[in-house]
């Protein structure tokens, strides 16, 4: 074996992966471990909460695993794409997501669990375009705000107007479903994009005022569905209607609280087995963690989510192009908001809002969107050095 032949041969796959400069080495491993952990925990919790639907069944576990597999594939594909090239695709992705949202309003849309946000694909599969809309809106905002005004590091006024316009269209379509939770997430993503992009504090103030006026108008003109108002009332005082609206928050508190420090063990939660908490495999999945894994388990879930958020922020800070930073920052805000609202509502510090817990809740489209977002983060991380 001579040195020459060795120089000619390409290094082995293992070598290439472990090499200092390899793409794999540049991935954020810690974040991936956290996401994988959340997915595993999510699968167990979905099993625990759905196995009781029929005797001897495994519930929705198989479907959830399939969703996660598809999500991982999507994640890998997205991570492989250069995020800067994504700038070019952003308008297309955005338009596609708008079409999806529009389709929901047409007769193709379907109502599941009281929310009209689905398109049935047949074979028991359905997609929720509003989840993809999060990615679509986030990309178009990042694209618009990536180019600062001449000689400053603030976005151009025209671009800001376009951002608000794009956000208004998306929000409007989502509110038509209506899906208050997703609308709030979209609003948070928009606000995060504008703030990170560096718009003037004055503008932030004005937008806050406008948003406040909007919220006031929504309540004042009674544009919310009665159940949504009731949820807020119940949040302020759960004892108002303990069997009705307050039931959800009371029961989820009981489930979580009764888990105490160590929990009752997987499948050992009486509240979960008795299905006292509604929507337990989706919006209230955290209650299963609380009851069966106790404080240690539920705090672990929160910590893993925290790892994802903080690593995401690190990626945003380390990225050297505005587009990448904006995308990463908005994704972190999206996940942070959903995490806080979702966990918060199960422990009585946030009103009940129909938002799933990222990576843990059951739900195909949400899983796809979440893992695509992770793919985006990884793509940004891999190519954080700006070469132009």
């Amino acid at each position: 074996m001579t040195a020459r032949t060795a120089a000619v041969r390409r290094p082995s796959l293992l070598r290439r992966i472990t090499a200092e400069s390899s793409t794999v080495r540049r991935l954020d491993g810690l974040m991936l471990v956290a996401v994988a952990g959340l997915c595993v925990i999510g699968t167990l919790l979905v099993w625990s909460s759905t196995r009781t639907w029929a005797p001897g069944s495994t519930g929705l576990v198989k479907k959830h695993l399939l969703n996660e597999t598809i999500g991982v594939v999507l994640c890998v594909i997205v991570a492989a794409v250069d995020h800067r090239a994504m700038r070019a695709y952003a308008p297309l992705v955005f338009l596609l997501s708008l079409v999806g949202l529009a389709l929901v309003i047409t007769p193709l849309g379907a109502t599941i669990n009281g929310s009209h946000s689905w398109i049935l694909l047949g074979g028991g599969f359905a997609v929720q375009p509003s989840e993809f809309a999060k990615v679509g809106l986030l990309l178009i905002i990042a694209m618009l705000l990536a180019q600062p005004a001449e000689g400053t590091d603030r976005p151009r006024g025209f671009d800001v107007t376009l951002v608000l316009f794009a956000a208004a269209i998306t929000l409007g379509l989502v509110m038509l479903q209506p899906d208050l939770g997703t609308a709030l997430v979209l609003a948070v993503i928009t606000a995060a994009g504008l703030i990170i992009a560096g718009v003037r504090k004055r503008l932030i103030g004005v937008l806050t005022l406008v948003a406040g006026a909007g919220v006031f108008a929504v309540f004042y003109f009674q544009m919310l569905e009665p159940y949504q108002v009731a949820r807020f009332t119940a949040f302020v005082d759960p004892s108002v209607d303990p069997r009705g609206v307050g039931y959800n928050s009371t029961q989820s508190l009981i489930a979580i609280g009764s888990g105490q420090l160590l929990g009752k063990g997987l499948l050992g939660g009486g509240q979960t087995t008795g299905r006292f908490v509604p929507e337990q495999h989706t919006d209230f999945i955290f209650t299963v963690a609380g009851e069966e894994f106790g404080f240690l388990g539920s705090v672990t879930v929160v910590l893993l989510l925290g790892v994802v958020l903080l690593r995401g922020l690190k990626i945003a800070r380390q990225c050297e192009d505005r587009f990448g930073t904006l995308v990463a920052g908005m994704i972190v805000c999206w996940f942070a908001f959903q995490t806080f609202i979702n966990v918060g509502m199960t422990i009585g510090i946030m009103p009940i809002t129909g938002l799933p817990l990222p990576f843990v809740s059951y739900g195909g489209t949400a899983t796809f969107a979440n893992l695509i977002a992770i793919g985006l983060l990884q793509a940004i991380r891999i190519r954080r050095q700006s070469f132009n």
């Binding site: 609280g257 009764s258 105490q260 705090v299 922020l313 800070r317 930073t325 995490t339 966990v343």
Partner: protein, 681 residues
């Protein structure tokens, strides 16, 4: 990029803060308040269903059941599950009404919890406890429900035990009855009372009430794990009920049956009789052998909850208040049966036992003539003959003399009141303490009682004495009542001479219950000790082990010497053979069983006489004391004495098979096999 990094830093801090908030709140909810939520989780996740214990039986002295349990299929409805249905369970109730053949409205009313504006039959129990709807379903109906559970969600048919009375109406008042326990009563109980269920029953009267603690056992509990819809998932905790102990009584069910029959016949023989009682005591032990009260009722009326109408009937004047036991609550003047007390009082007052006393037809007391029965003079008599022939004037005279000795109308500071005190020594004027609830005390009208009564009534009497009785149509009667009111107003607190005379022969204001009279005679003819009779004999565990024997307490002693007591007893021994009851006992084989006793005919103002006969047999070493009383029954020898004769005939088998072979009552408790059954023979 610097501005962006700065703003990201702010975001970083914000995210950290949110994470900390979540972690802190989780710590608070799960660790700090965890126990609280564990309790609440148990409350929501499980439902406690009380499993009633099988109640102990009430047995007679040889182990025959007076009250036993029979298993019955009971259909119950779970209200919680019904109320969770979309139509509130109307559909299920409609189907159930078709199976049970009862109107839906009736079922609906029965499962509605009682409350303001919700009248009976409503549900008095816990809202979580299945409500028993029908306790008399047959197997076919129960199977229809059990086999098609999917059509009857929330409806169950379970085997419960309900009370059964083999003796029918016999001793209904003495046995008592059961009613669902109230929440307040349950609070006072010890032991398992995790939740008020409404299926627990409590004895409400009679032996069921007095021995409730022993009979009822301890309820069990089944903590059923349920899901959100109230569907049972499994049993989380099970506490098996502990069955109640049996109560062995000294009642002999055959004697009881004979007694009931005799009393019924006596009631029928007297045209205006409106109530009666018969007491049979075991003179050797002080225990009750039979206790009957007429009119009676069928205790089955309580099964499955009594209706409002049924309850009213039990207490109405028209039906003769069959719920009230005349044996312990009927208070009547005892008439001449009371003379055992008066003759004893004479002895204590110093009248010689072997003296001779004149018995004129009439004796003047306080300016008023008091007559013998029918005004006949009986010449000069010994005390013995005075009792046998039931002379009154001898007692009038003695009582009046003692009254004057005490100071007459204006008594000394400490009057001796020998007659009243002797009556008390015989146990009159206070409850006997028999093991039955709500016993009446009777009344001994002494000077203190007079004064007390006057204080309570003088205001009315004094007003009447001024205003008269304008509403009274009969002028003469109104005038008489006015004079009476004036007399009662001005000197009602005084014991008048006539009062003392009346008292001596058991007339006037003196009142006794049949039970009091029976135990007074028992004290006289047995050993001179006054006892508190007992019906309960022993408390026996379901496996046959005797938990305790219930003693018969001695509560007093007659202030008579043995000689005096036997003298009186000897006199009474002749009454049935040669005295006032000779007619009633004509043809009775006195050579076989010699019966002693005393008749009583008590006058009641505006009504027929109360008929009494107090007796004992055999006269030598008596085994039985039998007292019969028929209110508005006429003379003692006419109604009560024949009833007593019939009871003895039944016991000793004069005409047919004896109720008690040889007339000797058992002295040993029945023996039980380990499975709780009574060993016969």
């Amino acid at each position: 990029m610097t501005r962006m990094r700065a703003r990201l830093l702010v975001l970083h801090v914000l995210v950290l803060a949110l994470l900390v908030v979540l972690a802190v709140r989780l710590w608070q909810v799960q660790v700090v308040r965890g126990q609280e939520f564990v309790t609440r989780a148990t409350e929501t996740r499980t439902r406690a269903v009380i499993v009633p214990a099988v109640r102990g039986q009430i047995l007679d002295s040889s182990g025959r059941p007076l009250v036993r349990n029979k298993t019955a299929l009971v259909v119950s409805v779970d209200r919680t599950r019904l109320s969770r249905m979309k139509d509130g369970g109307v559909k299920v109730l409609r189907k159930l009404s078709a199976v049970l053949g009862r109107p839906v409205s009736d079922l609906q009313q029965r499962i509605t919890p009682c409350g303001p504006g919700v009248g009976k039959p409503c549900w008095t129990g816990s809202p979580y406890q299945p409500v028993p709807l029908d306790e008399k379903v047959d197997t076919r109906e129960a199977l229809q429900i059990l086999e098609r559970q999917e059509e009857f969600p929330g409806v169950t048919a379970e085997i419960h035990s309900v009370r059964q009375y083999p003796g029918g109406r016999a001793g209904a008042q003495m046995l008592g009855y059961l009613q669902p326990v109230t929440e307040a009563e349950l609070e006072q109980r010890e032991g398992l009372k995790a939740s008020f269920s409404g299926v627990d029953l409590a004895g409400r009267d009679g032996l069921e009430y007095v021995y409730d603690d022993a009979l009822r056992g301890k309820s069990g509990l089944r903590r059923v794990q349920v899901d959100r819809m109230g569907k049972a998932l499994g049993v989380e905790e099970q506490i098996t009920p502990i069955p109640g102990d049996h109560l062995v009584t000294s009642i002999d069910s055959r004697v009881q049956a004979v007694t009931e029959k005799a009393l019924d016949r006596a009631m029928k023989s007297a045209p205006s009789a409106d109530g009666g009682a018969a007491v049979v005591l075991d003179a050797r032990t002080g225990r009750v052998v039979a206790l009957a009260s007429a009119p009676g009722y069928d205790p089955e009326i309580w099964a499955g909850g009594i209706s409002a109408r049924g309850y009213q009937w039990l207490l109405s004047e028209k039906s003769g208040k069959p719920l009230v036991s005349r044996a312990i609550n009927g208070q009547f003047a005892p008439g001449s049966t009371f003379k055992i007390s008066s003759v004893s009082a004479m002895l204590r007052a110093g009248y010689p036992l072997n003296g001779h006393y004149s018995c004129p037809g009439s004796y003047t007391v306080g300016g008023r003539a008091f007559n013998n029965f029918r005004g006949i003079s009986l010449g000069t008599l010994t005390l013995h003959t005075a009792l046998v022939k039931s002379c009154d004037t001898i007692f009038y005279r003695a009582a009046y003399e003692q009254y004057l000795k005490d100071g007459g109308r204006f008594p000394k500071r400490k009057p001796k009141e020998i007659f009243a005190n002797m009556a008390r020594a015989f146990g009159f004027g206070k409850p006997t303490g028999v093991d039955l609830p709500g016993e009446s005390a009777g009344r001994i009208p002494d000077r203190a009682w007079k004064k007390d009564l006057w204080q309570k009534t003088s205001a009315i009497n004094c007003e009447r004495s001024r205003k008269g009785y304008p509403e009274e149509k009969d002028r003469a009667r109104a005038e008489f009542l006015k004079r009476l009111a004036l007399e009662n107003c001005t000197e009602g607190f005084l014991l008048r001479p006539g009062d003392s005379a009346n008292f001596s022969i058991g007339q006037g204001d003196v009142l006794v219950t049949p039970m009091q009279l029976a135990r007074a005679y028992m004290a006289l003819v047995s050993d001179g000790k006054v006892r508190s009779p007992r019906i309960g004999w022993a408390q026996v565990r379901p496996d046959g082990k005797v938990v305790r024997t219930i003693p018969v307490p001695v509560v007093g002693k007659l202030p008579l010497s043995e000689k005096e007591r036997l003298y009186i007893k000897h006199a009474l021994s002749q009454v049935a053979a040669d005295g006032t009851a000779a007619g009633a006992f004509a043809g009775f084989p006195m050579n076989k069983v010699r019966v002693g006793g005393k008749t009583g005919t008590a006058e009641v103002w505006g009504k027929q006489d109360t008929s009494w006969f107090a007796s004992f047999a055999p006269t030598k070493n008596p085994q039985y004391v039998v007292v019969a009383m028929v209110s508005q029954g006429g003379m003692g020898a006419q109604t009560a004495a024949p009833a007593v004769r019939e009871i003895y005939e039944g016991i000793y088998g004069i005409k047919r098979k004896p109720a008690v072979p040889g007339g000797r009552l058992t002295t040993r408790l029945p023996r039980f096999a380990p499975d709780g059954t009574v060993i016969r023979g």
